[in-house]
Symmetry: C2
Subunit: 386 residues, 2 copies
Amino acid sequence: MPQSPIRKLVPFAEEAKKKGINVLHLNIGQPDIKTPQIALDAVKNNTIEVLAYSRTEGSEAYRTKIAEYYDKNDIHIDADDIIVTTGGSEALSFTIGSIADTDDEIIIPEPFYANYNGFSTALGVKVIPITSTLEDNFALPSIEAFEKLITSKTKAILICNPGNPTGYLYTKEEIKKLALMVKKHDIFLISDEVYREFTYDGIEHYSILQEEGLDNNAIVIDSVSKRYSMCGARIGYLVTRNKEIIKTAIKFAQARLSPPTYAQIASEAALQTPQKYFDDVITEYVKRRDLLIEELLKIEGVKVARPKGAFYCIAELPIKDADDFAQWLLEDFRVNNETIMVAPAAGFYATPGLGKNQIRIAYVLEEESLKRAVNILKEALKSYIS
Amino acid sequence: MPQSPIRKLVPFAEEAKKKGINVLHLNIGQPDIKTPQIALDAVKNNTIEVLAYSRTEGSEAYRTKIAEYYDKNDIHIDADDIIVTTGGSEALSFTIGSIADTDDEIIIPEPFYANYNGFSTALGVKVIPITSTLEDNFALPSIEAFEKLITSKTKAILICNPGNPTGYLYTKEEIKKLALMVKKHDIFLISDEVYREFTYDGIEHYSILQEEGLDNNAIVIDSVSKRYSMCGARIGYLVTRNKEIIKTAIKFAQARLSPPTYAQIASEAALQTPQKYFDDVITEYVKRRDLLIEELLKIEGVKVARPKGAFYCIAELPIKDADDFAQWLLEDFRVNNETIMVAPAAGFYATPGLGKNQIRIAYVLEEESLKRAVNILKEALKSYIS
């Protein structure tokens, strides 16, 4: 199993904290946004007396409500097209396990969420990276580039939309191109859409489940973690109209018996979250993003792609080795007794050598802290380079 | 992925229920015992505002308290020897993933919990069965028989103690024999001890973690599911003093981020459950077991091994095909508008052809229902055979 790109920095962050240093975390995807009250209350008011297994695929009632949620978002599916999982992580594991055998291949645009590699490796499936670039805002690589990588072993293309770690939001045209290609080669298109509610600048998210004629090829990974700031619930879902995939994935689901019961109560209630909650969250993230990008671009030598979704961006720094820089920030650099923890981006690339001068920044801090964090980055770069 | 032995019966049970038939479930390991109030209350009184990821390996506080629980049970381990998982299922997945590669082998005495096969297959690991017999009460097969099966591919022996589906409780002597053997061949001994609190007739459970000199070989799978009637929590743990295994298993754990937060709150509180709760539960199960075995032995042609732990037994029936019998019970047989659902035992054997005339009975029904259920079995056998 590959190591998480952040894990090896954790001891240095802990060491700094022990010394009384305030560490501002730009490295994690854990939002500081409050969980909707309606979800918290549902758990506090539960009337369970025997905490029994739930249904393997999630309760009928919950899956019906999820289908209604998608319906409101112009995605028309049945409750039976959904398997409720223990986090989006498990939805992805079940998907890979259901479509690929040992030594099969999945093509993923890099940089990508590091755990995609972890799940694939655990199941003996090989990740084939295709590089997207900061210069191109991390847009979809050309279809020609994809086709060069497709072999008889290729079982799927996996995208994250909007993207972690890039914040890139695929356009309808890009999705249509991908759809054509996967149909042509009779492979799957897996889309991790856990950040689907987080799109900015008035651009609407276009799901692969909205694409006609893709019913047998499209598999969506979804999760309540970021949508409702409920990372600790561990509830996600696998969504596909392909009945064979549902049938196979349910066998994996049966082996682990059921998704967690309390978390399903919270997640079912969360579907009633008022629209204002999302509007406020989006407003907050846009403010943070604008502040972050504006301040980053003021720093000499820093390049950044403007994210259109999620709450991450990749920044290129005028340094050689972001791993070393990230560790140095924690060990040696302080401004007013504060420092920052960033995620070196090399861990999001499968191609060796790529992303070494890049970091991922999660804008999950409120404005004042974010401002201080970028200032620390600016001062740190001056000091580190000289 | 292999199918669960019960799954294909589910539609027939649902059909019967639709017709207004009362189906008594002897097939499931879902106890009807109430969850300890202290655990339920902890969740109802939680003060979470942001439902954040917990620590990948489970909170320090919770793991410390688990170590104290083991300490009281004469098992001396540190909090760092524990990884909290999403159910015992995940603990087993992480264990197999950590010790074996594709095509490696794990030896398991059969009949065994069917999902052992599922997890192994999903990871490309081969299950090698070694048969234990009803005639021998499902005791440990001879060490000679084990040694015949050990090859360079063998990575571990996996036992369930006390056993699902057999109810067999391994003696200290049997554990010592296994310990000697795994040390001799330098392989792991994995013990699923989720039923450890359920031992009867005054016999004490002997854990592989109590065996001296086995620190590097012993891995225990544990869970709160049955102990506190909290199957829906989905909390288990992997316990080993082997630091390398902990290190590798944590990488698997990181990929799925964290175990569910609410469930950890319930599980941590459950550790404060008063001893009286367990005493009452044990008394109840012993009563049920005694009733069940006594009534089963009254039926002509039925053989059964007297369980010393857990809440299952394997019964051999005077029939040829328990799959067919189980389906017939649901489709065609009723006593006073009631029937029973049983688990055909062939699904618990990996060797083809074995267990075809056996069923697993879970004594998770209260006495009156259990009595009616055994009566239905008796009447059904008369009618089915003639």
